[in-house]
Amino acid sequence: MADLKEIANTIRINCLKAIHAGRSGHPGGSLSIADMLAVLYFDEMNVDPGRPDWNERDRFILSKGHACPSLYVALAQRGYFPMDDALKLRKIDGFAEGHPDMRMPGIDAPSGSLGMGLSQGLGMALGARHQGLGFRTHVILGDGDMQEGNTWEAIMSAGHKKMDSLVAIYDSNKLQGDAPVSTQLNMGDVGAKVATFGWHVVYVDGHDVDVLKTALAEARATKNQPTFIVADTIKGKGVSFMEGVLFWHGSVTMTDDQLTNSLRELNHG
């Protein structure tokens, strides 16, 4: 398997190319999940791009659906479809929709309305358990997902049901749509709260692929508890002028210059 750091960097490059081509999209939150996607799709998950509907595949849900440009290009890099299809973002004649749509091979759940991903993942884990299937389910959550009550219902339920095939990765990037999380709706120590519902909680640097790998292995080894990985991340990670800057949440149009400058940084990163 190629170097995961390299793969994550390529996801960032292709992601920004897609957002530039699409003339709108959410760069900040897409860049903050690139390392997680690299580890999931190129190391952790048991999937077969040739058989996207294979029922025993591991599942992945991007609950913060607006970050889909990174997911689309990761799927293309993994071989689900040509990169050109991912770069045709938000176009009327393509299938790289503004938010994940199941018509795209490799997309396991629709999202775009925050807060519904973890429950869908819970349902997949329940379906697996019921039928004796061994696959695992991974869900990436954003700050907005953590603010939605729906997510906490899933947290209670998955803890109660001891769903050890379910893993949530919380992309804790400190910014939400219009303001920092701390001023808009401060949630305090999310991991501590989730732990009280019976989850195994791990805190990681969400941009360190080795640490992410270890955390996912720890999740696999954990029995009778779902795992919640609190990933400390930077919104806009990898592009200096986007890092921690609210404007780049989206939905923004990237100019040619902005793309060129971003790619220059990423190519030398």
């Binding site: 659906g65 925050l114 009550g149």
Partner: protein
């Protein structure tokens, strides 16, 4: 009145109704102190940002938690303050639908819900954000007034009117730049339709962005000798029965035009009305019971059959 200070747009200009929302919020914040805005981290998207910047004391921020915001609005209304809840259509009219029904409409509380991101008008964000069912879901709740302005000026006239109206109101906020149809002297009244073009062969009853498209289709049809009446149905509920009956009685048929699913919205409301009061031939122009998709706001209407051409074709079938 404070109204004199308010700047309206010129007829024919392309304006996003979101800009009108921001402008009228600031104006009404300065004119009266009886209401507050409730936001769920989307003021930048709904158009409410100017209020957040200029009058932050008039905004209650709930973070990304619409169900909590909606039920809390019921509580705010209970204290005599008017909550103006604002979010995207899918999250206000569906995610928090039951909270609206039970905490606001059932106790007949005086709360307003204004939602952006409705219809295919949303464009590139795609299906999850393109709320095509709001008129249906909101209309189905007892006692709720449903308003769908055609342009930025009408929105600015309608906003103070819904604040003055005692009881739950839902109002749509358009997003893409839309031609201004109404001048500054236009008078808005809840429940009253406006004839924006006179005609005798067929009537188009349109709402929202479809009003400008109906006028475009009517102009083309005039060139072919077909006289089209265009009615702006800004209040979907209660519908203007007299205006619908007049269309049914005086013209050969009705075309309804809406950026919404053909089921449950304006077309249904008009059909319910004609069925009871004056049976008429009706053609429905709307999204044909399907979900939307990404695309530009000016290319999706042709793909989904809600452009001026679709209205033109529907009219031709009736004459």
């Amino acid at each position: 009145m404070a109204d004199t200070a308010l700047q309206y747009w010129n007829v024919g200009e392309d304006v996003s109704v979101r800009d009108a929302f921001g402008r009228i919020l600031v104006h009404q914040a300065e004119a009266r102190s009886d209401w507050v805005l409730l936001d769920a981290d989307v003021a930048g998207g709904t158009g409410a940002k100017p209020l957040v910047t200029e009058h932050p004391d008039r905004v209650m921020q709930f973070g990304i938690a619409e169900q909590n915001m909606m039920a809390a609005a019921g509580g705010v209304a209970d204290t005599g303050l008017i909550p103006v809840v604002s979010t995207f259509g899918a999250f206000g009219c569906m995610r928090a639908h039951e909270q609206f029904r039970t905490a606001i409409a059932y106790p007949e509380r005086n709360a307003k819900l204004c939602c952006s991101h409705i219809g295919l008008d949303v464009g590139p964000d795609g299906a999850t954000a393109q709320m095509l069912e709001d008129l249906a879901t909101m209309r189905a709740i007892p006692g709720v007034t449903v308003v769908s302005p055609a342009d930025a000026n009408e929105f600015m006239k309608a906003f103070p009117a819904i604040l003055d109206h005692e009881g739950p109101v839902y109002m749509r906020i358009g997003r893409s730049p839309t031609p201004v149809v109404f001048g500054a002297d236009y008078e808005f009244e809840i429940g009253k339709a406006t004839r924006v073009r006179h005609g005798s062969d067929v009537t188009v009853i349109a709402t929202g962005v479809m009003v400008a498209r109906a006028l475009e289709a009517a102009e083309t049809l005039a060139g072919e000798g077909v006289s089209v009446r265009v009615v702006n149905m800004a209040t979907i509920k209660p519908i203007d029965v007299a205006e619908v009956v007049a269309a049914a009685a005086e013209t050969k048929g009705i075309v309804t035009a809406e950026d919404h699913n053909i089921f449950g919205g304006l077309g249904s409301a008009v059909a319910e009305c004609t069925a009871q009061h004056y049976p008429a031939k009706i053609k429905f122009v709307g999204v044909d019971d399907t979900f939307g998709k990404s695309g530009e706001h000016d290319e999706l209407p042709a793909m989904f059959g809600i452009d001026a051409k679709a209205i033109f074709t529907a009219c031709k079938k009736l004459v």
